[in-house]
């Protein structure tokens, strides 16, 4: 192919909905360009092969089944990823950069990106998983993690003020309180996931994928 217009010309030639003026432009180009003519001749059998498809009528089926069970759980819905019932202090530390707000913001972000976009997020959930941009997600996670660390620090400081002196008893209290905060955080996250699942069946795979990714990262030492 030495004519740079070939992809255009070929595509437009096979376009059954081309405007008459565009059709004329294609014809004129073809009359003058042997490269495009040759490419057209080469590719015509591919188009013909596709058009050899014999249409089959859809079999009879329960069309209003969906409507008779509005928002019932569909059969294929995968379960939410499991988690440990109660996090130890050590594990909670791992969750620090991955708190609910962060995970949910990613989930919501991706949901709004259900349409494949050529820029920004390529998560295209419900679409082709090969579009998932893990490095971008990593970068986003890292940025959010440092923000989260700052918030944790503030939380810790206000907690210390509240508990006053730094005896062993109050430290245990503090740890408990901190764990509770994290537990609440995770509960909120789960509720958020569930909401997403209930609202939009298309994002099920994506959210689950995201959740398992987050879990995986959380399991790292």
């Amino acid at each position: 192919m030495s004519c740079h217009q070939t992809p255009d010309i070929v595509a437009e030639h096979f376009d059954t909905r081309l405007s008459p003026s565009a059709r004329q432009r294609v014809q004129q180009h073809l009359a003058a360009c042997a490269d495009c003519r040759a490419e057209l001749a080469l590719l015509a059998p591919a188009q013909e092969m596709l058009l050899s498809w014999q249409h089959e009528p859809a079999p009879d089926w329960e069309r209003s089944h969906a409507q008779s069970q509005p928002l019932a759980a569909p059969a294929h819905r995968p379960p939410l990823p499991g988690r440990h019932a109660r996090l130890s202090w050590k594990d909670a530390g791992r969750w620090v950069p991955l708190a609910a707000s962060l995970v949910l913001s990613v989930a919501v972000l991706t949901q709004t990106r259900l349409d494949v976009s050529e820029q920004g997020w390529q998560l295209s959930f419900g679409g082709d998983a090969s579009n998932v941009s893990w490095p971008q997600l990593d970068a986003y996670m890292a940025a959010q993690a440092s923000l989260q660390q700052q918030q944790n620090q503030q939380m810790l400081e206000s907690a210390l003020q509240q508990f006053g002196d730094n005896t062993a008893d109050t430290l245990v209290q503090l740890v408990d309180w901190f764990e509770q905060q994290r537990e609440l955080d995770i509960q909120r996250m789960e509720a958020g996931f569930q909401q997403l699942l209930d609202r939009d069946y298309q994002t099920v795979n994506s959210v689950q994928q995201l959740a398992s990714y987050v879990q995986f990262q959380g399991d790292l030492p």
Partner: protein, 191 residues
């Protein structure tokens, strides 16, 4: 005859009849899309039902700015990719076939079930088989252009790409298909 948007509005108001009219209007196109993809009628029916379930559940989100058919096929495509992912347990990618057609697996991609098309319709079966050898993106552009007769502008809007990108994708998909045909069928010699 009521247009799509009117039917959708009625369906959202709870009209079963409007919903069925809408479904009947498009089920043939969706069913054949599913058939081309799965290669067997049982799976095609399952997938079609899954698509319309997704459509129903998301109906209130349809804004009416784009054509219903674009929106419908976006859901259909997503469901198809989900299905392929479930079947293969890994993402749909541009998977090449072995050079020798004799090595092509019968169930390349989505499996062929008891009602395999090969028994019923040779040409549909070969369309299915060749499409399976394309990437999901390539399959989609051929589906929308050749079978759904959408314009490149409509496809561009639906996929958030430029019309030129849509044309280039269509061209590449056709080229890939042609190369596969040569490997598989020995239809006609090179010009």
């Amino acid at each position: 005859m009521e247009n799509d948007n009117e039917l959708i509005a009625s369906a959202l108001d709870g009209s079963l009849q409007a919903w069925e009219t809408l479904v009947r209007r498009y089920e043939g196109r969706i069913y054949n899309f599913c058939l081309r993809l799965t290669g067997n009628r049982d799976d095609a029916l399952d997938l079609m039902q899954d698509v319309f379930l997704g459509v129903y559940r998301n109906l209130s989100r349809f804004r009416g700015e784009s054509q219903f058919i674009s929106w419908l096929f976006r859901i259909a495509h997503n469901k198809a990719v989900d299905l392929a992912r479930r079947r293969r347990a890994n993402p749909v990618k541009d998977q090449g076939l072995p050079d020798d057609p004799a090595d092509w697996p019968d169930d390349h991609g989505v499996s062929i079930g008891p009602q395999a098309l090969a028994q019923a319709d040779e040409s549909n079966a070969s369309v299915h088989r060749l499409l399976q050898a394309l990437s999901a993106e390539q399959r989609l552009i051929l589906e929308l252009k050749v079978f759904q007769s959408m314009t490149f502008d409509e496809i561009a809007m639906m996929q958030d790409i430029s019309a030129n990108t849509a044309k280039t994708r269509f061209y590449s998909a056709l080229k890939k298909l042609r190369a596969l045909m040569e490997g598989h069928h020995e239809l006609s010699p090179d010009p």
